[in-house]
């Protein structure tokens, strides 16, 4: 129902945040707007700040995803399928009694929907913990140049 392996790293909560978000954090960390040349060949302190800024942006994204996942108690794709089935049943487009019974049973798959939503919650929690851990390590590294 969701993307394949690694889809979260490419498109979702774990994907690389936009450059603007990273730059906002970098400016706050350094206290000045870094020039493009300094970012092309950064010294150790700037490289550490850049890594920290990226980790901060990733943490924000993971936290946002985490907050969004808290309010989701059903799986949207399954709901969509159930809507289609409901239409088919409602307008008597399923003639065969056995197929209609099968559709009715699919409509009762509430546990599956809840299970997927819970899985999403667990994943969001894991992404947040990983992002926080990486960010804390990046901060400790940056503190050596602080």
């Amino acid at each position: 129902m969701t993307g394949g392996r690694g889809a979260q790293r490419r498109h979702g909560a774990q994907s690389r945040p936009p450059r603007e978000d990273i730059m906002v954090h970098l400016e706050r960390i350094l206290g000045v707007t870094p020039d493009a040349v300094a970012l092309l060949e950064p010294d150790e302190a700037t490289a550490a700040a850049l890594h920290l800024a990226e980790c901060e942006a990733r943490l924000d994204r993971a936290h946002r995803h985490y907050a969004e996942a808290q309010g989701v108690n059903r799986h949207a794709d399954l709901d969509h399928l159930q809507d289609h089935l409901e239409d088919l049943m409602y307008f008597n487009w399923i003639e065969d009694a056995a197929k209609r019974e099968a559709a009715a049973r699919v409509m009762r798959l509430e546990r599956l929907s809840t299970r997927y939503a819970n899985h999403g919650k667990r994943l969001a929690g894991r992404y947040l913990r990983e992002a926080q851990s990486r960010r804390d390590r990046a901060l400790e590294h940056y503190l050596a140049y602080y």
């Binding site: 906002v24 706050r28 206290g31 985490y66 907050a67 709901d79 159930q82 926080q132 602080y146």
Partner: protein, 181 residues
């Protein structure tokens, strides 16, 4: 160390981290109180304070959700079963009754969510039953509370570490007295 500014860190838009029942104004008010209490200096320390606040919000949010899920008056919505029940009911109804039902359903407003009752010991068995029905969800929320508390402890520890480094940085270098004697 970058120059400090007096404004709140608020990085990035906190509204993106909040749910519908939480407000950005309350977040800002809490953040300013935390800043008054913890005296952060510089962007790194302010960010650390903001992360501590977020952990507190997470803990509060998870506990709120647990309370809502255990609310014995809340109805369990089974969307698919309701659709099937409605479909069966409609298939057995007379066309005129069906027409009347459609008119009535258009006028029905959605019910308000029930408020959790307070301090009634007789509701304990119902709460226990709801807990048993939603054990998986409860386990997730309780684990998230524990994780947020752990993150909070680590964030406070890191804040103190940064503040300690800053304090030590302001002490002038020691002079070795009598090294040449």
């Amino acid at each position: 160390m970058p120059d400090d500014t007096e404004k709140l860190s608020r990085l990035p838009d906190p509204g993106r981290m909040l749910l519908a029942d939480e407000s950005a104004e309350a977040y800002d008010a809490l953040l300013s109180e935390y800043i008054q209490d913890l005296h952060p200096v510089g962007a790194l320390e302010r960010r650390q304070v903001e992360l501590i606040l977020r952990c507190d919000l997470d803990i509060d949010r998870q506990l709120r959700m647990i309370a809502q899920h255990l609310n014995p008056l809340a109805e369990e919505v089974n969307r698919g079963a309701e659709a099937v029940r409605d479909w069966l009911r409609r298939s057995l109804m007379h066309p005129s009754a069906l027409e009347k039902l459609d008119e009535e359903e258009g006028q029905i407003l959605p019910a308000e969510p029930p408020l959790p009752p307070e301090g009634d010991g007789r509701l304990t068995p119902l709460i226990a039953r709801r807990y048993a029905q939603q054990r998986e969800l409860m386990a997730i929320h309780q684990r998230e509370v524990a994780a947020a508390e752990r993150r909070r402890r680590q964030a406070i520890e890191l804040l103190f570490k940064i503040q300690d480094r800053r304090a030590r940085g302001s002490v002038p270098d020691a002079e070795v007295v009598g090294a040449g004697d």
